[in-house]
């Protein structure tokens, strides 16, 4: 895909990485140099190369160099510690690692945990320019040395449609991380969703501030943009002031972030000082935006908003909640993208009609190939011939999908099913002093599970259990009202910012004394 893009638009600006700016010809040349260096080092189709990097042109070069040579790329989640990284290096059978200088210690630590690791090469990219020292395992070289005098011409390697382009390890809150095997054809076709549905084209100037090691930023919104010939401005992290300044200075047309990032930008004093008039589309993911935030954001940013929904196993986008429905159907996760068939299934494998609630299941050409070396989990995920998302939801009469809850977060209490998210939403609406609330089911002798709300109040306010319960009663049927309210200073989260309900359930499992 990059080859063709560079061939069509050699002189167009592809990537901005700090002070470094790359045309498509230059980016493709960097990719080709690394591809040739990998081939010279003996890497072949099916070999595995791990990648520990923040958002940088070297991240992109490594991903595309793997794609061109048939090498499998394994991006490392930067929230992981050495144990998780060592697990992934071992499980993926990585032959080498590309690591940014500031992450050299993480990789060295991980390698020390692996007895007789098969990792031969550690290639250190400049990253943030940190000092680093070679570890005791593998041959450590800096990127320039590894590249040597590799040329920028196109490598010619045979790669199959269904060859893996990457193993993306899921966060694994409840078990060891699972390696999602993504094929070339899946990533190819998925990459076209954003151009097809959101009009991403060669005139787009986008910011990538969400981590490239996560499929949403990588395959959801980067590969398609670079295929259509747009420009990607890389940022290593979200910072409201820096992002607002970048939108102005780089004349950004499209951004992608979490709902809270838009809130933080709107609350920042710079919001009125920056020229945001080039923005045409702001994307968000993970969760619907609260209605008041959304209305304010549409006005403040003066552009369309849309939500992308999906998951790593689908590479990842499955539905898009488009701008024209944002206010009329607030809270929905939108319409299936053309490349994904979305169904609602009961536990027996029957597809359910519109309006009925069940597990959200997917079919389509950009589903994963399976979980690496995990046939049982793969078979379970594809039971009845559909990929099982683990999400519960329903379609409305307009064909829009509504996410209710993670299947495992639905609370079974006194013979009723209660979506934890419904209770959370009611509490947010009824009690503005709540900063964050998480609702889980905890073991209970009488109710089987009893609903519990874990609450973080807004800074500087007081909030009692009785006040929270009164708020719940004002909005919810009796059986949906929590049986207990617990207070917490902050919530446990995964690397991508998801609250770990399973950790809260574990912490508080004895609360009702069972």
């Amino acid at each position: 895909m990059l080859t063709r893009s560079a061939w069509r638009n050699p002189d167009r600006e592809a990537v901005v990485d700090g002070a470094r700016r790359f045309t498509y010809a230059e980016l493709n040349g960097e990719v080709n140099r690394l591809a040739h260096a990998l081939l010279a080092a003996g890497y072949r189709r099916g070999d595995v190369l791990a990648l520990a990097s923040g958002n940088s042109v070297e991240f992109l070069a490594t991903y595309y160099a793997c794609a061109k040579t048939g090498v499998v790329c394994v991006p490392v989640n930067l929230a992981w510690g050495p144990p998780e990284v060592s697990y992934v290096l071992e499980h993926s059978r990585a032959r080498g690692v590309v690591v940014e200088s500031q992450l050299a210690g993480l990789v060295d630590g991980a390698l020390q945990l692996v007895e007789g690791s098969g990792v031969l090469d550690v290639v250190v990219a400049p990253g943030t320019g940190a000092d680093w020292a070679a570890g005791s395992t593998g041959t450590w070289r800096d990127l320039a040395t590894f590249l040597g005098d590799a040329g920028t011409g196109e490598p010619e390697c045979l790669v199959g449609d269904r060859d893996p382009i990457s193993y993306l390890y899921t966060s694994g809150t409840t078990s060891a991380p699972k390696g999602v095997v993504s094929s070339h054809v899946a990533v190819y076709i998925e990459s076209l969703n954003a151009p097809l549905v959101l009009g991403i084209d060669g005139k787009e100037r986008s910011v990538a501030m969400m981590p490239l090691f996560h499929t949403a930023q990588l395959n959801g919104f980067t590969t398609g943009l670079l295929y259509m010939g747009g420009t990607l401005v890389l940022m290593r992290a979200f910072d409201p002031a820096a992002l607002l300044a970048t939108i102005e200075s780089e004349r950004i047309t499209q951004i992608f972030g979490l709902p809270m990032m838009y809130r933080m930008m709107m609350d920042h004093p710079d919001i009125d000082k920056r020229d945001l008039s080039t923005l045409r589309l702001a994307l968000y993911a993970m969760a619907p935006m609260p209605d008041t935030d959304l209305r304010r954001a549409i006005e403040v940013f003066g552009c369309d908003f849309a939500l992308g929904f999906g998951q790593t196993e689908m590479n990842p986008i499955t539905t898009v909640f488009p701008p024209e429905y944002q206010l009329s159907h607030a809270g929905s996760v939108g319409l299936p993208v053309p490349n994904v068939q979305v169904g609602i299934m009961d536990d027996a494998g029957n597809l359910l009609p519109d309006g009925e609630t069940g597990e959200i299941v997917y079919r389509g050409p950009h589903a994963m190939e399976g979980y690496l070396r995990n046939p049982d989990a793969t078979a379970e995920a594809f039971a009845h011939g559909w990929f099982h998302s683990g999400d519960v939801g329903r379609f409305d009469a307009d064909g829009l999908l509504w996410f209710a809850d993670r299947k495992k977060d639905v609370i079974k209490t006194g013979g009723e099913n209660v979506a934890s998210i419904e209770v959370e939403k009611a509490l947010y609406e009824a009690e503005p002093r709540i900063q964050e609330v998480v609702v889980v089911g905890l073991p209970h002798e009488r109710w089987s599970e009893a609903i519990a709300a874990i609450v973080t109040p807004k800074p500087g306010v007081e909030l009692t259990e009785e006040e929270v319960l009164a708020a719940a009663r004002s909005r919810l049927s009796g059986f949906k009202v929590p049986k207990a309210v617990l207070f917490a200073d902050e919530m446990p989260r995964t690397a991508t910012g998801k609250i770990q309900k399973n950790v809260l359930r574990e912490q508080h499992k004895g609360h009702f004394g069972t």
Copy 2:
């Protein structure tokens, strides 16, 4: 693709075929019934079903039913006679034929030419409602009987990415027709070009008047439209008055035809009587539109014009000449679509830089798999790892592709290469009394090939050889001026309207007495 489209937009209008109108759910239901009937009749993945049909919902139902079951569809070119049809039935090893009633005689005649044909089933669709009689070979049934009580539920068949979806036989002017093997993944990805590049989406209302048995109408502009949820209005043939009336009555937004069809519509008295205001995009193919026609058409139709260029072996679109360049770069065939890499190659297999002229070659995921049972022609077509178009052209400094000539139509005269099309263009411009001119090289003792112009004057005008030569001299260097002018009442053409230069070369090969 149709399954997902119907799943997303069950109640939207998919196809209009005369008085019959089909929603996506209904169209998909028809497809599924035929798929189940094929399965019940024993058809399996890899079996071959020929299809002799004008533009009708039954054509579409057969193509998609084959796609869903892994059966290979072989559309019959309706300009063929029984000998060509019998060749294709035998060469493709067709197990059955779906034929419209008015074409039953063609298929019967073809089957009689095949000794011990393997064709078991002949299924007669209503078509134009002609009387028909069962032939002597195979079991003849009407479509309703063949369908029986087949249900409309989704069939569940395993089909591979690279399984053939069709064998499309090329016209074969110089040799036996070659069967282009098109894979599912190729047609899938090619279908996305029109949505990606031309903005074809679910709001589109298109007319299909070009034959569906030709890849341009079928995979170029139909499968993508139906994937995005647009509406297709079928017409069995081009008729200027009928098309103008349909644009008005069906509120058509997009049409596709040959340059001469736009000229015929503009010259028709109804052009001023019909409301064409819904049109947003008029596509043309095969050849650039003369500049004066194009300027007039943009004004008369009040919409954007764009050209699609490609060939059957590429399934088919390779470049699009987009609206914004139509007037500034008139005569170009446009920009490569994202899914195709376009190169210019010399005879030794070297890629040439922009500006240099050579053979146009292609790479990309929607190239054909090869020619059916013809490894030599396949190897030749993919020499040096690129598909060889047989077209000669160059890229300009703006990245636009210019088609110069078919490689075999380039005239080698006195040590110089002359593009026949350049001479034709000069004659059209300099001598308005020419209706049509074809320039070929004919064997000549001194010049190796000598340039000859075959001319059809406009009706009712007189034109002499000397006048034509004077026109040529006014525009061309001496070595490009024809050595002879021959007059013809009409030109020999292929089924798709291409002038057969090879036939003219053969007819006149003795003109210079060699």
